[in-house]
Amino acid sequence: MATSLGLNALRLSLSVLRPSSCAVVPCQLTVAHKSHNATHVINYRRTRAEMAKAIRRKQNFLHFELVDKHRHSPLQTGTENISQETEVTAPRNYRYVMPEFMPRPDWERRDRVLEKLERRDMMRRRAIMNIPEFYVGSIMAVTVADAYAPSKKNRFVGICIDRGEYGLKAYFVLRNVVDGLGVEVMYEMYNPKVLSIEVLKLEKRLDDQLYYLRDALPEYSTFSFDMEPVQLPKGADVPLNTTKVKLKPTKEWECRWEAHDLQGVQPFEVNEKRMRRKEKSAEPWKKHDLMLDYRSRVPEEEEEQVMAEVFREKQVIDSQRKSMRTVLKKRK
């Protein structure tokens, strides 16, 4: 096979040789002779039939358009002008509404195929169970399947103090004080054990994480289990709760909060030693580090592309749910 290919290549190269490149002939010949021993010879000059065969879509082959949309290198011919099917663009703040759909910013560990598959699975889950929009600071109720409870269900109400991770592993943490005991539960949003997620009061807080509520007075994280959901007027912005919580007077907190630049905490004083320590551990240059900022985020084009896809699928799911509701109403 190798010899026939080599001869074929030689014949083709000879047939297209122009008079100006006659000097190259000996060189070409030597190459062809050498290739008799080589195991693999690349045939750059393919016949039309061969080209057609190579281009044909294969069953077990993920086409590069699906995977390699990110590679806009001018060196890669054929990848510069890929038609984008994104007529629908997501709203600008959509990445804050559904942050778990964002690709992981750590580009070294990214896997684009996995991301795409995960996004598909997440959307499938959302088609079955409604996951509402929520933020850190919203008061939520979660029902999980509990095989050992008499009602086979377990409902917990609390304030969302944290949310994180990307993809199917996305989680949030609820906190409440029950009978004087602070209780926190971490739920995975796409865990099949989670039966329903409700938002009782949609609002934001001044900080990204509210772990300082552990060291605040218990009244700030006490919520009734039979709380009625608070309805927001249609089209209204998500309200920002500017409550400033009061930390416990004992300074033996679980974290040195003075070093964390908290917005939602009433001003407090700590001793000189701790202030010195805070100054020593401060990293004021970090906010000017452009590369750090760049590495902690996904490129904007990619974000837009992903979010448009998510937005489109979400609209389909919402319309399906709406039509289902009207059908159910008519049946009644």
Partner: protein, 150 residues
């Protein structure tokens, strides 16, 4: 501390009686594991537990009844309360837990006697529902005292 308790009283009557924390200062390590000499909080209404909370001396773990010597939810521990050795079950941990399993602000135990019968007759704080999945049957007497599951 007094001001804190008076503030908390309207929200957490049970906490006031038991003391909000196990100890005035934290000496546990970063992982918050229940190991030898870690301080716990008794959450049943046994007389000895209440007396220990009143004098402000938290019970300390002196043995964990498993191979790893690290206590997890539902594990049996041996504690010293007011100079006495008592057995107890762990019913709440500060440490990070699995999804859907609650983490509490204090390390909680319920005292039992040598036969496994609880010393008190009521557990005053909510207990993780995940403990009911424990199939060994040791905990059933403790769980029957619970007033609330989370």
């Amino acid at each position: 501390m007094a001001t804190l308790l008076s503030n908390a009283s309207q929200f957490a009557p049970a906490a006031v009686r038991l003391g909000t924390t196990c100890c005035a200062f934290s000496t546990t390590s970063k992982l918050l594991e229940v190991r030898l000499l870690s301080r716990m909080r008794i959450v049943d209404n046994s007389a000895i537990g209440r007396a220990a909370a009143e004098i402000g001396k938290p019970p300390r773990v002196i043995h964990v009844y498993n191979k790893k010597q690290v206590g997890h939810l539902g594990d049996k521990v041996l504690v010293t309360v007011k100079g006495e050795m008592r057995r107890a079950y762990i019913v709440g941990l500060k440490q990070k837990q699995r999804p859907n399993v609650p983490r509490t602000d204090t390390n909680n135990i319920v005292l039992v006697d040598d036969n496994g019968n609880p010393l008190g007759n009521r557990v005053l704080v909510p207990i993780p529902s995940a403990l009911r999945a424990n199939k060994k049957g040791d905990l059933t007497k403790v769980l029957s005292l619970a007033t609330k599951f989370v």
